[in-house]
């Protein structure tokens, strides 16, 4: 049976910088994954509902506005409510070291800051995908 890792790449909130998200989307595609790219200004409900319909294995959130503590954890909270903890959540953007432990506790399994090699993210996803 042929299986492909499906990833939703989404930008929550009002941040308009999507270059990083697009680079990640391409890198994951080149690693053989199916990437659903949804563009800017996503609400938590949009992200989770899209994850349901697209039956993704991974949600990759990108944020450079500084609101990651609220917006990333809103997504993991709603996933928990919907009993979708089998979806791996990773996040990227400008995220201070100090915030990482709390994000991880909230269910954002991988945090990738500026300068991360795309290969590192690909490896992380392949290793940690839950189903």
């Amino acid at each position: 049976m042929e299986r492909k890792i499906r990833v939703l790449v989404a930008k929550p909130g009002l941040d308009g910088h999507d270059r990083g998200a697009k680079i990640i989307a391409r890198a994951l595609r080149d690693a053989g994954m199916e990437v659903i790219y949804t563009g800017l200004h996503q609400t938590t409900e949009m992200i989770v509902e899209t994850a349901v319909q697209e039956d993704v294995n991974v949600i990759a959130l990108s944020l450079l506005s500084g609101a990651h503590m609220t917006l990333f954890t809103d997504v993991t909270k709603l996933l928990k409510e919907k009993k979708m903890e089998d979806v791996l959540v990773v996040g990227g953007g400008v995220i201070p070291e100090d915030d990482i432990p709390e994000l991880k506790k909230a269910g954002v399994s991988g945090i990738f800051g500026p300068g991360t090699h795309t290969e590192t993210i690909v490896k992380f996803i392949k290793k940690n995908v839950k189903r």
Partner: protein
């Protein structure tokens, strides 16, 4: 009945999504569910939307969906983008133009990669149409990859096929007329606020004049400006008229029959290819035949006959 099948029939979004994944992966679990739901299908009107890259198919689908929702109808959307033949990955970006539909319970959108299929569709698309249909969607729209000339498979699955064009294609219409220009039930010239729209309309209409001689239905040519929601209600009228025409002219059943024929062929093709090239019993034999062909010890036809002979005996 299979558990996932009964949930799909109730319209449960997660079960619909999961069954689509299983069908895409040709999982044996999907087969029994697909068997269960078939008798509950046939109610949705299937609209195929095809056209060149950048013609605004996704935005048009978004606007059509908004209009159908106003009428109280539920909509399923299958948006297909190409899979890279090299990495096997795909970047599925049609949702970017449909985000306002994301949280509407009456709309289900699924993005799919072509996964090696040519023709503008993907192998599992027949299954996905059946799943959305069985889940109670009134309208199912299938958006093909951006087409060039030969990606015309959408007519096998659609009740009504829209070919979307844009002004400024100019002579390109002449070059694409041999394939894509033969499959439309309705032509849509989108982005009609752009310059050159009169010329494009004239060219399409003259093609239609020639193509529809001796036919009882003349293919309509409409203009739309998706971004301003112009021409959308008229397009839906035309789709409804086409649906009535299919039923009155008794072509509806014949056309559906063709879809099931294509679906049957696809299931058999997939199973057969799987049997020959992926199952361990045959794999070694096939490899050694390919080696022999490379060394000119054997020709490809004899090799093919040998493989088929083993299956058919």
């Amino acid at each position: 009945m299979n558990d996932i099948a009964s949930k799909v029939l109730k319209g449960d979004a997660r079960s619909i999504a999961r069954l689509i994944t299983l069908a895409e992966n040709s999982s044996p679990e999907s087969t029994s569910a697909m068997k269960d739901i078939h008798s509950h299908t046939g109610n949705a009107h299937v609209i195929g939307i095809t056209g060149v890259m950048g013609s605004g198919k996704s935005t048009l689908i978004c606007e059509l969906t908004r209009e159908y929702r106003k009428q109280g109808l539920e909509v399923g959307i299958i948006a297909i983008d190409p899979t890279s033949p090299f990495s096997g990955g795909a970047l599925l970006g049609d949702r970017v133009r449909m985000m306002e539909l994301a949280t509407d319970d009456g709309v289900f959108i699924r993005s799919m990669g072509t996964r090696g299929m040519l023709g503008g569709l993907t192998s599992a698309v027949y299954d996905v149409v059946e799943i959305l249909d069985a889940s109670g969607k009134d309208i199912v729209m299938v958006e093909t990859v951006g087409v060039g000339q030969a990606e015309v498979d959408v007519i096998k699955i659609a009740d009504t096929t829209l070919v979307v064009l844009v002004p400024g294609l100019g002579d390109a219409i002449q070059t694409i007329k041999a394939g894509v220009m033969e499959i439309a039930d309705i032509y849509v010239v989108n982005k009609a606020d752009r310059s050159g729209v009169e010329q494009t309309l004239a060219e399409v209409e003259s093609l239609v004049e020639i193509a529809c001689i001796n036919k009882d239905r003349k293919t309509p040519v409409l203009t739309t400006i998706s971004k301003e929601n112009k021409g959308i209600a008229e397009l839906i009228d035309e789709i409804n008229k086409h649906s009535d025409y299919l039923k009155k002219s008794n072509t509806f059943e014949a056309q559906r029959r063709k879809r099931y024929e294509a679906e049957l062929v696809e299931i058999i093709r997939k199973r057969l290819m799987n049997f020959i090239f992926d199952e361990s019993t045959f794999k070694g034999k096939v490899e050694s035949l390919i080696d022999q062909i490379s060394k000119k010890e054997l020709d490809p036809y004899t090799a093919a006959e040998e493989i088929l002979g083993r299956i058919l005996k």
